[in-house]
């Protein structure tokens, strides 16, 4: 796990450093474009201050050393420590992702189970069609359509996370309601694509399991059909689902950038993109490291969970063939 993260950090750092120039250059370029005069000494000062003039290896060691002690560096663009910049939007991102995932599961599971148990029926075809439609529609397009519909039909502006008057206000009921109202559409938009893919996977996995002999055994035992479905094949097809947690965690942080931009949501997605564009190296680097760490942790969690769920994985561990 640690070597994986170390390797990831090296790759991340190298890639961030690959484009010519650094933040100071981007900064100066911007100033010149705006017609302001540039103080070369100040530029030099900035470079020294942030260690940008040091050799790459030294900068890497400095960055990673601070990172593990909890100091994520300083964002040039926002003129704030990275932890502060990220902290704000991280909460909203997690909130949004949480609802999205719940929505995905709530919709996908019943439909997936129905499709699998009624394979090739009209219901299966219909739901599959809707699912595929959802998968094929670009998210941002759906976001724009819903944005329009909400504005015209319901009169709610859903750009942003809350109505303007609440920004900066302390938390209160009206503010919470406003947030809730604004969360509905992003949740639906981000949820649909995931739902369609999830339905397909539940259906495919369950169909595989339904063919298995032990399902017939359960029926022959006199287990009522619904109970037999839940206890045996569904439980078995959960494996893929648990294995999926590994990819879920990083998606919570970095997911749905484009939708967030379209809906001007203050999530981490747009933040990451702008950080990468302006070569705000500490912000971008920290982000990517978060994602890498979460991926590794997610995989670890799903491995442990799989071990709990499936005795075959638990008991066959360490056997060398």
């Amino acid at each position: 796990m640690v070597p994986t993260l170390l390797l990831a950090s090296i790759v991340i750092f190298t890639i961030i450093q690959l484009p010519p120039g650094d933040y100071v250059e981007t900064y100066i370029g911007e100033l010149i474009q705006n017609g302001e005069s540039v103080d070369l000494e100040r530029a030099q000062y900035l470079r020294e201050e942030y260690g940008l003039d040091k050799p790459m290896i030294q900068r890497y060691l400095l960055w990673i050393g601070n990172f593990v002690t909890g100091d994520f560096g300083y964002s040039f663009e926002h003129q704030k420590p990275v932890s502060e910049v990220v902290g704000n939007s991280l909460f909203f991102t997690i909130l949004l992702s949480f609802f999205t995932i719940i929505l995905t599961w709530v919709i996908a599971f019943p439909i997936g189970i129905y499709s699998a148990t009624h394979q090739y029926s009209w219901g299966d075809y219909g739901l599959t069609f809707v699912g595929l439609l959802g998968m094929a529609t670009p998210n941002f397009l759906l976001a724009l359509i819903l944005l329009y519909v909400a504005k015209v039909n319901f009169g709610t502006s859903i750009g942003g996370l809350m109505d303007k008057e609440f920004i900066g206000e302390p938390m209160s009921w009206p503010k919470l309601l406003s947030i809730g109202e604004h969360l509905i559409i992003p949740t639906i938009v981000i949820g649909t694509s995931g739902t369609a893919a999830m339905i397909r996977r539940i259906r495919a996995n369950l169909l595989d399991e339904l063919q298995k002999q032990y399902v017939v055994t359960a029926r022959a035992k006199g287990v009522p059909p619904f109970k037999a479905l839940i206890k045996y094949p569904l439980r078995m097809s959960l494996n893929f689902f648990v294995a999926d947690i590994g990819s879920l965690l990083p998606a919570i942080i970095s997911g749905a950038e484009i939708v967030s931009i379209v809906l001007s949501l203050p999530t981490t997605g747009p933040l990451l993109i702008s950080a990468l564009q302006s070569q705000d190296m500490y912000l971008a680097g920290s982000f990517l490291m978060f994602v890498a760490t979460l991926t590794v942790i997610g995989v670890l969690i799903s491995d442990i969970a799989l071990g709990f769920l499936d005795p075959r994985i638990r008991l066959s561990g360490g056997v060398d063939r």
Binding site: K212, Q213, Y214, V216, T217, A218, R219, A220, K221, G222, V223, P224, P225, K231, Y232, R235, M236, L309, D310, P311, R312, L315, S316, G317, G318, V319, D320, R321
Partner: protein, 642 residues
């Protein structure tokens, strides 16, 4: 209820019609079948695969697949003589009445013990579920009843088995768990759908004996579905023969075996290899095939035949060890060395068929794989002898480098067990047959295609089938394609790994006869492994019996079957069911006799404390047996089991 006393019929099937919906077109798979199952007795339902015997059992239970439905006739169920009969065919599969009967009054055990149990639930959970569904019992009683049941079906440590998962059990124990699950509610009818087909002969005998014993104790009726007439002869009171969805013949066991009437039944009885047949008797295949030897293959055959009976392959001290690591908690590993093949030596002579027989896990396939270099050997030599006198060359196959082994692969080819997975579903037959020629650069494209057509005729298939894909062939036809592929390089030695065990009885004879004829006509040498003693007896000239990685006896076929010396060979012969009423299995002996476990071999055969002193001792030139080194013949013969 005592067995033998006829009281009433628990199931009476009356003119049953059943169709399978194949994308809109109905295929009638049961066409007016009628038979009965008397309470407390065993009825055997016999027929080849596709005859509809399994689907009848599914209809009785109400677990038909979605595409199947009953279109006519009735299934009368009557538990006790005084009950009013119930027509099961009129109820939907998931109606409360049928769910109540399933597992409670009628239960089933399946062929495949490996996949019939859920891998995610403990044995106790799965067996207990059947009990809680049909009986009103408290959870403490459930565990007690299940443990009692596990004990009854012969689990070595029933309380421990309660919390074990199926993957921790062997195939035989899983089948016992399955039986426990079927019987835990004391059903009135047990349907056994090929209950022993996937098991070894010795395990088969034990399971059959268990079923008989439980039937006596619980007084249930058994519907035994099988294609093995040996099993039928030993188990059934009445026999029903099915063919293409119709009942061909039905009656008491005596009448069916002593006086078969229907031509299909007669043919079936003649097509199954059996230990009671004469040594030169030929099996009569249900559907014979014509094949021809192409001219291009006939050259060299005569020359090969002149060298017959010379040693072709000399295998000495062949060993294979596997290391398994078992983790102990978080830290540390236990390394165990498993001797899969433990010091095996034998010769294979030109033009003969050398048979290796033994239970699964005894190392026969591992031995074969080492000979064809699919697996590296831990130790030993496999020497290939060619020429004679001064020109004799000896090559150790295990020492060959990659280039050398490629050359040798032309001379040794393999036929696999499973005709379904050994042919690529994405290649046409032409490509399958051409591939070995391409790898070895035989001829140009045109010649290869011509040669492929010749190969098809060689195994009795139409060359026009070359453009088809494997899925459009039956199991027997696929196995013939597999044989054709193995012969594509004109090998001298054909290594056959259970080539007929995955095939239906009706085509087994066909493939066995083809292999036999090809060997004769092309002067081939075979190494043939099987766990089926009757098959080995039919095809092999000399036979080696393997037990736990070691050869315990090698002899010519007649010697081995007429005069077995090693207690293991004897035990193995005792557990084979004969399709002959005059040779019933001795179930008492099977239960008593632990010889197949290797525990109480006596006298010179005992290897406890003598592991390093065991050796093959020659009885005659053609008969060796494993015993303590230096034992004289008299001692061995004196300890020969009777």
């Amino acid at each position: 209820m005592k067995i033998g006393e006829y009281t009433h019929d628990i199931i009476r099937i009356d003119d049953l019609h059943l169709v399978i919906d194949l994308k809109g077109a109905d295929l009638e798979v049961i066409r007016g079948a009628s038979f009965r199952i008397p309470a407390g007795r065993t009825v055997a339902l016999v027929g080849e695969s596709g005859s509809g015997k399994s689907i009848i059992s599914q209809a009785i239970l109400g677990i038909l697949p979605n595409v199947a439905r009953i279109t006519g006739g009735s299934i009368w169920y009557k538990e006790t003589p005084t009950d009013i009969p119930l027509d099961l065919a009129t109820f939907a599969d998931d109606s409360a009445e049928r769910i109540d009967l399933r597992g409670g009054k009628i239960s089933i055990i399946f062929q495949e013990p490996m996949t019939s149990l859920s891998p995610l639930h403990t044995i106790g959970n799965q067996i207990g579920e059947a009990l809680t569904l049909h009986r009103d019992v408290s959870s403490g009683d459930v565990q007690q009843t299940v443990v009692d049941m596990l004990e009854l079906v012969g689990f070595p440590n029933p309380p421990a088995a309660w919390s074990m998962y199926p993957m921790e059990l062997s195939g035989g124990l899983r089948q016992r768990a399955m039986i426990a699950m079927a019987l835990v509610c004391h059903p009135a009818l047990l349907i056994a759908d090929e209950p022993t087909t996937a098991l070894d002969v010795s395990m088969q005998a034990k399971i059959l004996s268990l079923l008989k014993e439980l039937q006596e104790k619980l007084g249930m009726a058994v519907l035994l579905i099988t294609h093995d007439l040996g099993v039928v002869a030993n188990m059934a009171d009445e026999v029903v023969v099915m063919y293409h969805g119709q009942i061909m013949e039905a009656g008491p066991r005596e009448a069916i075996f002593r006086n078969p009437q229907h031509p299909y039944l007669k043919a079936l009885l003649n097509a199954v290899p059996d230990l009671s047949m004469g040594y030169d008797e030929k099996l009569e295949s249900l559907r014979d095939i014509e094949h021809e030897i192409p001219a291009s293959m006939s050259k060299g055959i005569e020359e090969r035949k002149t060298h017959a009976h010379e040693t072709l392959l000399q295998i000495r001290h062949l060993k294979k060890e596997f290391t398994t690591k078992k983790s102990k908690g978080w830290f540390g590993n236990d390394k165990t060395v498993v001797k899969a093949v433990d010091d095996i030596s034998f010769d294979v002579r030109r033009g003969e068929c050398f048979g290796l027989v033994g239970e699964s896990g005894c190392g026969k396939t591992t031995t074969l794989k080492m000979i064809v270099r699919a697996l590296s050997a831990t130790d030993g030599t496999v020497e290939w002898m060619e020429g004679d006198g001064d020109q004799q060359t000896v090559t150790d196959l295990l020492q060959l480098n990659n280039q050398g082994i490629k050359e040798f692969r032309r001379k040794i080819q393999m036929v696999f067990q499973d005709p379904f997975s050994s042919l690529s579903p994405r290649s046409t037959v032409l490509n399958i047959l051409k591939e070995p020629m391409e790898v070895h650069g035989m001829g140009n494209k045109k010649q290869q295609a011509e040669y492929a057509a010749e190969l098809m005729r060689l195994v009795g298939l139409q060359p026009t089938f070359l453009g088809r894909y494997p899925h459009s062939f039956s199991g027997g036809q696929r196995q013939r394609i597999g044989i054709a592929r193995a012969l594509a390089l004109r090998p001298e030695l054909l290594v056959c790994d259970e080539p007929v065990s995955a095939l239906d009885v009706s085509v087994q004879a066909q493939v066995l006869n083809l292999l036999k004829q090809l060997q004769e006509e092309l002067g081939l040498t075979y190494i043939f492994i099987s766990h089926n003693l009757a098959v080995i007896r039919y095809i092999a000239d000399r036979i080696g019996v393997m037990f736990k990685g070691q050869l315990v006896e090698t002899a010519t076929r007649e010697e081995l079957f007429e005069n077995p010396i090693h207690p293991y060979t004897r035990a193995l012969l005792d557990v084979v069911p004969h399709a002959d009423l005059d040779h019933p299995l001795d179930f008492d002996r099977i239960n008593r006799d632990m010889a197949s476990e290797g525990r109480n071999w006596t006298g010179p055969f005992s290897n406890e404390g003598h592991e390093s002193e065991m050796d093959m001792i020659a009885i005659t030139d053609n008969h060796q047996v494993r015993a303590q080194r230096g034992t004289d013949l008299q001692t061995i013969l004196a300890h020969k089991p009777t």
